[in-house]
């Protein structure tokens, strides 16, 4: 009985993943505004999707106005239910000199397509930058995990019985770590920036890959073509690179694609607990965590990053499935 395929799903996954990756990669050019800019936190916070505001320079502060009117040379604007006039009254404000008074005026009109967060930052821009961070983090960590995992797996598979035993026990040991706590401990104890996070995530995710790589390589090592290559006196490293590695690439690719997804989920969970990617930088995880505070009043802050995350991970799952079907239709699926 043939295995059923779902080419449509695969196509959807590839397209969605491409779109998200493109959005993340070109976030600096695609994002309408600076993702960290707080123009007027008080009047700009938690604006619903589609809100428009005018940026007004007023004294020392830049404010967001709902409406502006020009009445014979004078400019008035509405902010938080209150009409004010430009230029700012030098004597007004908090008693400071109005140095910036001559710079007063309407700067620009902004559209917040997905609304704003608690500091009045543009949610669309933050979601795009968040995609960049989350995807980069997931992908870079998996690359690191692949490097370590395949390395350890290959040495274990080809390095003889004892080395194999020692290395695999070592891997078991690492798997035995309650590693979510390890990650929390490390991200909590040390200030974390992106490269450190990649190291931590990649450094804790390579163990299953090394097991898979070892099993695959071991099963290949006994095959005729590899034995033949050895028999021809080809250098073992060359045999490995030319003949073994290409043959284990497809199961590893499937595994790696899924891992990107799991690591994005792990990062999200750690950020949800308050560690992980640190503000002001956005990742999908901390965007969702931020949104939780405002669930009852501003649903959009948590909804959009959650949707993005779910769509992306579903696509990853689709693509990984598709890859498996394409590359190796006979292989049973791995357990977890």
């Amino acid at each position: 009985m043939a295995k059923a395929r779902w080419p449509r799903g695969m196509a959807f996954g590839v397209v969605a993943l491409c779109v998200v990756t493109f959005a993340g990669a070109f976030a600096p050019w695609l994002a309408p505004y600076d993702p960290n800019e707080q123009v007027d936190a008080l009047a700009g916070r938690l604006l619903p999707p589609g809100s428009t505001r005018y940026v007004v320079q007023h004294g020392h502060r830049r404010l967001l106005a709902e409406e502006v009117q020009r009445v014979d040379g004078e400019v008035r604007f509405l902010r938080l239910g209150e009409w004010r006039t430009l230029p700012a009254d030098p004597a007004g404000g908090n008693g400071a000199e109005a140095i910036g008074a001559e710079g007063d005026g309407i700067e620009d009109r902004r559209v917040f397509l997905l609304g704003t967060d608690k500091f009045g930052r543009d949610l669309l821009s933050r979601c795009l930058w968040g995609a960049r961070v989350s995807l980069l983090l997931g992908a870079a960590s998996v690359v690191l995990a692949l490097l370590i995992g395949v390395g350890v797996g290959a040495v274990a598979a080809l390095g003889g019985r004892w080395l194999d035993l020692v290395l695999m026990r070592f891997v078991d040991g690492l798997l035995a770590f309650p590693w979510i706590f390890l990650l929390i401990a490390l991200t909590a104890f040390f200030p974390t920036d992106l490269p450190t996070l990649v190291l931590l995530l990649g450094g804790t995710a390579w163990m299953p890959i090394s097991r898979l790589a070892r099993a695959e390589i071991q099963s290949l090592a006994g095959r005729d073509f590899v034995l033949a290559a050895h028999g021809l006196g080809i250098h073992p490293v060359r045999v490995f690179l030319r003949h073994v590695l290409p043959n284990v690439a497809s199961p590893l690719a499937v595994e790696a694609t899924l891992r990107v997804g799991t690591l994005i989920l792990v990062e999200a969970a750690i950020s949800f607990l308050g560690f992980g990617v640190q503000p002001p930088h956005a990742s999908w995880g901390n965007l969702i965590a931020d949104g939780r505070e405002h669930l009852s009043t501003a649903w959009w802050v948590a909804l959009f990053p959650s949707l993005l995350l779910v769509i992306t991970l579903t696509s990853i799952s689709l693509v990984s499935d598709g890859l498996r079907d394409l590359l190796d239709p006979e292989r049973p699926q791995p357990i977890d």
Partner: protein, 323 residues
């Protein structure tokens, strides 16, 4: 088989030792000191030093390690710095809550997974199969805390059907056994459902693909040719073969007891192990961290041992190979 188990056990003990040693050095070398040292601004530097020496923290790490290891060998895992109770006692107290949550979650996971997986596997490529597949993927793709928060918002706050947190009500202590169990189940519903949902995706696909594979095999074809009813083929021939590896997977998921449900424990204010260890980590409660590591590593070892043995027990080919 016995010698195999012995060899495995020996290797496991060594493993346990290595994991504990690594954890010991990691937590002691990491920056930060137990929170109790700083609870009171009026503690003088001198007094703080005295507290350190009472806790043995003023000694070189190597010496602390030797001392700790000696005590651990005698079965003394020390006192929680934060709670001033035996470290294992702290964990033991929290274990039931997490155990109940995890087992209920695993139950939901398999109930959902088997039902949907079988349903989907019976007619591959059909409408049910496709819907199930999407369900499985979206469930896998959604972070547990997102589902948890949604559940609370909908079923607890909006509809008021289930309590949003904790594992018992105030009055439950005085109810008869069944009343208490009902109360527990009432509190358990949302977190267990959440845990089951996020994990069911994998089981669904697993059962479905397992079924497809088995249904294509010769013995099933033979059975079909013999004219056995499809139901009988499914339940008697195909399913047992398809779910074997699931049991193995169960063993491997034992460590979930400690870490897997942490985020959900936080979301549902569930008084379990995960949150206990979480706070021990932040408070630098070294004895509790080490006890938890020992506990978790033991679970991993036991889990994979049990999984292997179960696998061997179910599959005569493996049994023979192990000799």
């Amino acid at each position: 088989m016995l010698s195999y188990a012995c060899r495995r056990a020996a290797a496991s003990l060594l493993l346990l030792y290595l994991v504990l040693t690594a954890t010991f050095f990691l937590v002691h070398v990491a920056p930060g000191e137990p929170g109790v040292l700083f609870e009171n601004p009026h503690i003088s530097a001198e007094q703080r030093q005295k507290m350190r020496s009472t806790l043995g923290l003023d000694r070189p790490v190597g010496e602390q390690y030797v001392r700790w290891f000696g005590a651990a060998l005698r079965g003394e895992w020390g006192y929680s710095i934060q709670l001033r109770r035996p470290a294992f006692g702290v964990l033991w107290e929290r274990l039931p809550a997490t155990a109940v949550l995890v087992f209920a979650g695993v139950f939901v996971e398999h109930l959902l997974g088997l039902t949907l997986g079988i349903w989907a596997g019976r007619r591959p490529g059909g409408r049910v199969d496709r819907a199930t597949r999407w369900f499985a993927m979206v469930a896998w793709a959604t972070p547990g805390f997102v589902i948890g928060i949604l559940m609370i918002e909908v079923f607890a706050v909006r509809l008021g059907l289930f309590p949003p947190q904790q594992m018992s009500s105030d009055g439950a202590r005085n109810l008869p056994f069944w009343g208490r169990t009902l109360d527990l189940l009432h509190h358990l519903a949302l977190p267990a459902l959440t845990l089951g949902l996020i994990r069911a995706g994998v089981v669904i696909r697993f059962v479905r693909n397992g079924l497809l594979e088995v249904l294509g095999k010769d013995f099933v074809r033979t059975a079909r040719a013999k004219g056995l009813s499809p139901r009988r083929i499914l339940w008697v021939h195909a399913l047992p073969n398809a779910v074997g590896p699931l049991i193995q997977r169960l063993g491997v998921s034992l460590p979930l007891l400690l870490s897997g449900s942490l985020v959900l424990e936080v979301v549902f204010s569930w008084p379990g192990l995960g949150t206990a260890v979480f706070s021990a980590v932040l408070q630098r409660d070294y004895p509790v961290i080490l006890a938890a590591t020992a506990f978790s590593a033991t679970l991993v070892v036991l889990g994979s041992l049990a999984a292997d043995l179960a696998h061997a027990w179910l599959d005569p080919r493996v049994r023979d190979r192990l000799g």
